[in-house]
Amino acid sequence: MVRTEIAVIGAGPAGLSAAIECARAGAKVTLIDENAKPGGQLFKQIHKFFGSREHRAGIRGIRIGEQLLKEAQELNIDVWLNAEVCGIYRNSELWVVLNHTESRLVKADAIIIATGATENAVSFDGWSLPGVMGAGAAQTMINLHRVLPGDRILMIGSGNVGVIVSYQLLQAGADVAAIVEAAPRLGGYGVHTAKVRRAGVPFYTSHTVLEARGTDHVESAVIVELNDSWQPVSGTEKEFTVDTICIAAGLTPLTELAAGAGCQTCFIPTLGGHVPMHDEKMRTSIDTIFVAGDIAGVEEASTAMEEGRLAGIHAAAALGYYKPSEEQRLSAEVWQRLGVLRSGPFGQKRLDAKKDILNARRTISEKVQ
């Protein structure tokens, strides 16, 4: 059995930030990730981030990832790679499988779960054909592995992921035939949609994908218009010759470890579905377990990093590494930056949803008392 003070699960933007804060506070931290490289999905984010200078606005996600890794290295954080956390026991023990072959038990005084989210599916005829993939998969292929999954792409979903990945597919040298959105209005930021629109990519609002055609690979895609009650209007089908269909239909928090550990969840559709209840300190219904990033409600990398910091500060404080006054001061700084990121019409919805989680957590802790 390996002893550590704080175990952080997931080395994406939230987990890295959390581990950095824990180490800064002086805690012994072990950062565990199932991938061969740390960074999570951050190294796929090759666009410049929004926010202000304190959120590293204007810097590409991939550079922010490099900065975080450098900080983690300078703080001598113990990083375990190719390490899958398969279960959490007794609120403090992690079952870790190394390189798919070897079991390890890690005992920690506090655990921060930052496992991120998984892409939602959309089912349609032919959606299991090779060539139909998550938008995130296409993004992984082009930006991490530097391989184009196809030459001509149809994107399903106009949220930020859909439009950003469309833009990045164009940058990688592919063509994007169209972006299809079931809702009557586009989901992503206007600056993102404008970038792909001026590259000639058309948007089809109130449309959905009906079918992927092809034998062993996608050869074309059929889309159809939706009426006001979201039903397909027959006769409005359009066929696009494409070799790839990307699905960007939102994300769902990866809560299996938290739920398996016994953390109570609540259902918040705006943030992706079931999320572990947590308080202002990012602490779940189990006192030793914290969450941060997309698992705590799907937002974006900038907010994930701030939440990671919060979880790190409070986990370290829970182990006595900060005096309450210091903890409060550091936490207030992060909350201020989070408040800024959650402002405006896009942020407000997430802010309200976050409040629902905090209220749910408060209710259960009152019940306990």
Partner: protein, 175 residues
């Protein structure tokens, strides 16, 4: 694409802001200012938390304010059209256009993140907000300064008749 293709549906349907949305936003310069010479055209019409344009401007001509979700406000008298904001905008939503470049031609400085890059003197297809070719353009400058972290800045001259529509150039075919 639905209902109209040319149109004033706006950014949430067409994906690109309509002229109405642009002209009623505080970052879009007045007709009078445009006629005086190079000026920043800020095509940011949606309140998102973002403000790198503000500190980037050496003239202090762009204000977002403490609520960084506010739209950038252009002080068109202070703006010299220097173009620093063009590369600073993470959304690639700022251009500098010069109506006074020549008798017949205006110029645009725009961000471009595709390969291959054009070369100085090359004739390219200038495109509008919908990606349609509007007219030819002559590339005057290709700035690949490291400071802009791989966002190239391209300056091109094009027919003044299309002053407002042109925002970019068509991607060039890959070898």
């Amino acid at each position: 694409m639905k209902k109209c293709s040319n149109c004033a549906c706006g950014v949430k349907i067409d994906g690109t802001p309509s002229m109405e949305e642009l002209q009623s936003s505080p970052g879009y310069p007045s007709e009078a200012r445009i006629r005086k010479g190079p000026v920043a055209i800020i095509e940011c019409v949606e309140a998102i938390p973002c403000n790198p344009c503000e500190p980037a401007c050496p003239q202090g001509a762009i204000t977002v304010g403490s609520d960084i979700t506010a739209l950038p406000v252009l002080d068109e008298e202070k703006c010299t059209g220097c173009g620093v904001c063009v590369a600073a905008c993470p959304g690639l939503a700022i251009y500098v256009k010069d109506f006074t470049f020549e008798e017949e031609r205006a110029t645009i400085l725009f961000p471009f993140e595709y390969l291959p890059l054009p070369v100085k003197g090359q004739i390219v297809e200038m495109t509008d907000r919908f990606g349609r070719t509007v007219c030819e353009g002559e590339v005057l400058l290709v700035n690949t300064s490291k400071r802009n972290s791989n966002t190239a800045l391209i300056k091109a001259a094009y027919d003044k008749k299309h002053f407002e529509e042109v925002v970019s150039m068509r991607r060039l075919a890959r070898a």
